[in-house]
């Protein structure tokens, strides 16, 4: 299991635990100081004991979008599929509202073909995400890109399923 998915999962559990509305009202200070690259916006935690008895919490659409940190791509493509529009819009607004926040866009490719060309594909994907975030209000100084090509797969099998998981851009707040 890839460590990032594990951390995203932990972050989602934390989000679920801290209550929908509180997030939009309190600025997510934890984000700016979060030392780990995997920090999620809004990932301020409330110890489980204080939450008390189980309680059903409805997640607002904004929060769900911000908790999503990976955009997937078609083979040899860098076009952003419409299903990621809402998510990227939320991240763009978040960056606009929090000008001190920095986001690194990590582009990746599947293992097929040559390695340096795949570095190019990863970079192209990261740049495509960058352009959308700029349009959505992020400032260019908040964004950096890096491409790992096929060097850091999220899934390790040589099949369509793994390849689809590896053609991605990861949003890494720091």
């Amino acid at each position: 299991m890839n460590i990032r998915y594990g951390l995203i999962l932990v972050a989602l559990i934390q989000l679920a635990a801290c209550g929908g509305d509180s997030w939009t009202r309190t600025p997510p200070k934890a984000l700016e100081s979060a030392p780990t690259a995997e920090a999620v916006p809004g990932g301020t935690t409330t110890p489980a004991e204080e939450v008390g008895s189980p309680e059903l919490i409805r997640e607002g659409p904004e929060q769900t979008s911000l908790s999503r940190l990976v955009i997937y791509f078609e083979f040899d493509q860098s076009d952003i599929r419409s299903e990621f529009n809402e998510m990227l819009a939320a991240h763009g607004r978040y960056l606009a509202d929090n000008p001190d926040t920095r986001l690194r866009l990590e582009g990746h490719a599947d293992e097929r073909g040559s390695r340096e060309y795949n570095i190019g594909l990863g970079e192209r994907r990261a740049q495509a995400v960058r352009r959308v975030l700029l349009l959505q209000g992020a400032a260019s100084g908040q964004l950096s890109t890096v491409s790992f090509g096929e060097e850091r797969p999220a899934a390790f099998s040589s099949d369509e399923e793994s390849w689809a998981l590896n053609r991605r851009v990861e949003l890494v707040y720091r």
């Binding site: 390695r115 970079e123 890109t145």
Partner: protein, 435 residues
């Protein structure tokens, strides 16, 4: 971001001292020529009462077998064990259906000095084809034996031998959630493997300097790419490019003075540049908004071949190495031609070619544009020519693991190169050693 540009300067760091690796490679022939040449290599003579410090004949045998072109006689089938020409009974050998005989002897002349005498004999004519003496230290005997193999190979095939050359490759091992990336230099037969750089971050695109003393490669230390040039003997690392964006695909010019590389700079568009190593002057060769990467120099240093997807998919283009010329497309067959490597003769390119959904190694004749597919894997990549141009080493997958293979450029011989530990990739064959 801006201070990264300041990094451009030269930074010297002492790299990991070259450490021996257990992860040796082992070469097996998976396909040889139809009629390999029978040859008998007799164990070399050794006078001292102790056992010989090195089995020279054994290594010559192994080299000749691994080439896929020779069928050495088993030791038990040797009719006699001559070590000098005078001891050879040619009549006996003629009965064995073997045309060639290698004999020799090893003598200790001093504390750590050895003399090897060897002869390659034409059994039919009863005459020596080669007759030489080599001087060596004890530690140099392995290399001396490879040198003998190289001489025999060249005498019999007309092709310069590469048994005494080296390769570099990247090995990757997963240790829990951490990936260990290692840049390894080994003899061409996989022995004497040494880790020259070790990182939890990816290591990519090793490239030899033409004198075989340095390796350029891409590191991702600190979560961003940089092109490093490392001197092998001292381990000293020089960061030659750590500009904003991508720093990738280094390739030394044939004179060793320049490095072609791929940069994306701030705008995120990959282009080919040439960096003059003496004065850090950067010349931009391409300006297309497409991906331009994977530069490879022509042997005369005048042109650079590279991968570009300016026409849609990746294809190979050629551009003048001094800048100011328009790139011309050189591959037209198939939807995917990438990562060119120019043969030592300059007459053909080895590429990664998409063959009906499979990524395979192909050779493109630069005069006729004819493409020949040499391999049959599904995910073959990173072809690299042996310095004699007769063999390509490349990365492939076997049962989900990254392994190395080699194929002769005429497609007749295939070698599997087994790694005893971890995944191996990005093999690059070193140039001939200067004598």
């Amino acid at each position: 971001m801006k201070q990264q540009v300041g990094w451009l300067g030269v930074i010297w760091v002492l790299a990991v001292i070259a450490a021996p690796v257990d992860a040796q490679l082992r070469i097996e022939i998976s396909k040889g020529v139809d009629r390999p040449v029978p040859i008998a290599v007799v164990p070399f003579g050794w006078q001292a009462p102790t056992t010989a410090p090195f089995d020279i004949a054994g290594l010559i045998n192994q080299d000749l077998v691994s080439s896929g072109r020779f069928a050495p006689l088993e030791q038990r089938d040797l009719v006699s064990r001559p070590t000098t020409l005078a001891e050879v009974e040619f009549g006996d050998w003629r009965l064995l259906d073997v045309d060639l005989l290698v004999i020799g002897r090893l003598t200790q002349t001093d504390q750590d000095r050895f003399t090897i005498n060897f002869q390659l004999l034409d059994i039919l004519r009863g005459q020596p084809l080669l007759s030489f003496r080599l001087e060596s230290s004890g530690g140099g005997l392995r290399r001396a034996a490879h040198q003998i193999s190289d001489m025999i190979f060249e005498q019999l095939t007309g092709i310069r031998g590469v048994f005494g050359t080296r390769i570099a490759y990247v090995s990757v091992e997963r240790e829990g959630e951490v990936m260990r990336h290692r840049l390894v230099v080994a003899d061409a037969d996989g022995y004497n493997a040494r880790i020259v750089f070790d990182s939890p971050e990816p290591i990519m695109s090793p490239a030899w300097s033409p004198d075989g003393r340095k390796l350029a490669y891409v590191s991702f230390e600190g979560q961003r790419s940089a092109v490093i040039v490392q001197t092998l003997r001292s381990g000293a690392q020089q960061t030659v490019s750590s500009r904003a964006g991508i720093n990738g695909a280094p390739a030394f010019s044939p004179d060793g003075r320049k490095l072609a590389l791929t940069l994306s700079r701030d705008e995120g568009n990959l282009d080919i540049y040439v960096l003059s190593l003496a004065n850090q002057v950067l010349t931009r060769l391409t300006t297309s908004p497409a991906i331009d990467t994977e530069a490879a120099w022509s042997p005369d240093g005048q042109e650079i071949y590279f991968t570009s997807d300016r026409s849609g998919g990746p294809q190979i283009y050629r551009v003048g190495a001094n800048g100011g010329t328009r790139p011309r497309r050189v591959t037209f067959e198939g939807s995917y031609n990438a990562r060119p490597r120019v043969s030592p003769s300059g007459e053909e390119l080895a590429v990664v070619f998409n063959d009906r959904g499979n990524y395979r190694i192909a050779v493109v004749d630069l005069t006729t544009s004819v493409t020949r597919i040499l391999t049959d894997g599904r995910l073959d990549e990173s072809p690299s020519y042996a310095p004699n141009g007769a063999t390509l080493i490349y990365a492939t997958r076997n049962r989900g693991e990254g392994v190395l293979s080699a194929v002769s450029t005429d497609g007749r011989i295939k070698q599997r190169i087994a790694s005893l530990a971890g995944e191996v990739r990005e093999p690059v064959w070193a140039p001939f050693r200067p004598f």
